[in-house]
């Protein structure tokens, strides 16, 4: 079996297995672990919890720059690479084809030059994020190995993808295999590290929103 067949076949299959297992496992623990009931009565004027939770999810989507501008970089940069990733994953024709072959739906793709630009910007943005993490004393102190691994497995498919379309690895078959394998690594790591935020972020925001609302905090 050549590398490409391995990457597209068993490797991808295995990674998807690990991914599905990991994600459902962690979500199940989160959702099935009984929580201590909050027995306090809700504050006056508090919204019903689901609404408060939902509102918090949307409220936090809107960037909020601190008056001192201290979080300016992390906020903007965070948006840049998240949006960049979305454009690449959901806008590039080959990616749409993969999604179509799994979920059966497809949508129009973006021209390649848009993807190339998004790729360049996203890579730059991720590198900037790492530089920030390494140079800011506070960020550095609270960073764990998880952060660095999560960063690496996120940027890896971008870089291998760039090498693939830019023909920096020859032949194409090998380049494609390497790109798929880097995605395989990402899939395997995702449920077990901080990248799991992709699934948990809205749950935790909703819960925080509901909790604070219950306590009468002004948001």
């Amino acid at each position: 079996m050549d590398l490409l067949s391995f990457a597209r076949g068993p490797a991808l299959q295995f990674a998807i297995g690990v991914f599905c297992f990991g994600v459902t496992w962690r979500l199940a623990i989160l959702l099935f672990t009984p929580q201590a009931r909050d027995l306090t009565p809700a504050r006056k004027g508090a919204l019903p919890s689901p609404i408060a939770g939902g509102r918090e999810v949307f409220r936090r989507m809107w960037p909020e720059i601190h008056p001192t501008g201290s979080n300016m970089f992390t906020t903007i940069n965070g948006y840049v690479f998240h949006l960049g990733l979305a454009v690449i994953v959901f806008g590039f024709a080959p990616h749409i084809q993969l999604i179509k072959s799994i979920f059966g739906t497809a949508w129009p793709s973006l021209p390649n030059f848009v993807i190339h630009i998004a790729g360049g910007v996203t890579i730059a943005s991720l590198i900037a994020a790492l530089v920030k993490r390494l140079t800011s004393p506070v960020l550095r102190l609270i960073s764990t190995l998880d952060d660095y691994i999560s960063w690496a497995v996120t940027i890896a498919p971008l870089i291998t993808g760039y090498m693939l379309v830019g023909r920096l690895i020859q032949p194409y078959n090998t380049a494609l295999a390497v790109h798929i394998l880097s995605f395989v690594v990402l899939l395997i790591w995702l449920p077990f590290g901080k990248l799991m935020h992709a699934f948990i972020v809205f749950i935790s925001r909703a819960r925080t929103g509901a909790y604070l609302n219950h306590r009468g905090a002004q948001l």
Partner: protein, 352 residues
């Protein structure tokens, strides 16, 4: 014996001048992307060479490679290759049969020890002692081993010989293997394709004749001159690919406008071959130009790439079952763990 004469002498007896060599080599240099300055030296080498003894072995194959080989395009120019080589053994083309045919093979091997070229088409079955393909009572494995022993080089033509091809496709009932598995360190050239482009076969042989050495090969033993670039890299529909203009089916507006065939299953990006430049049938066309996808017939495992009409990035293995089963296991384990924890907590609070 005519074999003692140089090709130059041989041809001039037939009224073919040295200009024909010059023209042939100009053509060869051009198709092989060699510097045109090399053409005169090649012509010189070719004229001074002896007629090349070629033994053609056909194993698990469909004879498509031979059909292709004999259709090298121009009846005058390209046909010269048949004057340059002496095809001493070839099931389909030789007049002799039975004992006489086998004798011709042995005789040529004896006379041209260390100098003859063995061309192989078809893969070799190895399962059950190799009984699935036998010639004159001998297995393909044995015939190959004895024939290449004193050969100068082995040329595996067609994807079956080069990479196993169709017989090798799942579930490979005969235990077929590519020729590369059986040649040890004999010099090997692979010219894959189903069938290979005729010019790639004749060009490679002519190159050996003119230079007395193998052409430059890639890591899969393919001549770089013909297999150095992918179909996608030389495809005239490439600009549509870049612009994201794809045919969604073979009869839609996009297909009529000649847009890229990526989404209907084109494997051009992983297909290393010369079809897009050399083309077929005397430069008439090639599959993509005729409106069909490329299915990478010259690539290893092309038959098992998940389907000719499934796009290249499509999954090649079933994912649904794996995803479902692992997700179920995840939920069960996660929920189980959560409940156990809850139980323990209850017990703990009871105890205290």
């Amino acid at each position: 014996m005519t074999k003692d004469r140089t090709l130059g002498e041989h041809m001039s007896r037939r009224g073919i001048s040295r200009r024909a060599f010059g023209k042939y080599c100009a053509y060869l240099a051009s198709t092989m992307a060699l510097s045109p300055k090399m053409a005169p030296a090649m012509a010189q080498g070719l004229a001074a060479a002896r007629r090349q003894a070629v033994i053609w072995l056909s194993f698990q194959e469909c004879t498509g490679c031979t059909e292709s080989f004999t259709r090298s395009y121009s009846p005058t120019l390209e046909d010269l290759i048949f004057d340059f080589i002496s095809l001493d053994y070839h099931h389909t083309l030789q007049a002799a049969s039975g004992e006489a045919a086998e004798l011709a093979r042995e005789q040529s091997m004896e006379e041209n020890k260390g100098k003859y070229i063995v061309v192989v088409d078809g893969s070799v079955p190895t399962k059950d002692g190799g009984v699935y393909s036998m010639i004159a009572g001998h297995t393909n494995v044995d015939i190959l081993a004895s024939t290449i022993e004193n050969a100068f080089a082995v040329v595996a033509v067609g994807t079956c010989a080069a990479f196993g091809g169709l017989p090798y496709a799942k579930p490979n009932p005969t235990g077929a293997v590519a020729i590369s598995e059986l040649v040890g360190n004999k010099p090997l050239i692979n010219i894959p394709g189903c069938p290979p482009v005729p010019e790639a076969m004749t060009g490679t042989i002519a190159h050996i004749l003119a230079f007395g050495s193998l052409p430059e090969l890639d890591d899969k033993h393919r001549p770089l001159a013909f297999f150095g670039e992918s179909i996608h890299d030389r495809c005239y529909r490439r600009s549509f690919y870049e612009r994201g203009l794809f045919a969604k089916s073979f009869d839609d507006e996009g297909a009529r406008k000649g847009w890229c065939l990526y989404e209907v299953g084109c494997k051009g990006p992983i297909a290393y071959n010369t079809c897009a430049t050399t083309k077929w049938n005397g430069g008439t066309s090639f599959p993509i130009q005729s409106g069909h996808t490329c299915f990478a017939c010259g690539s290893p495992n092309f038959w098992d790439q998940g389907g000719f009409y499934k796009s290249l990035p499509s999954r090649t293995s079933s994912i649904g079952t794996v995803a479902g089963a692992t997700a179920a296991a995840g939920v069960a384990l996660g929920a189980g763990a959560a409940l156990i924890a809850a139980n323990r907590k209850k017990q703990y609070s009871k105890e205290t």
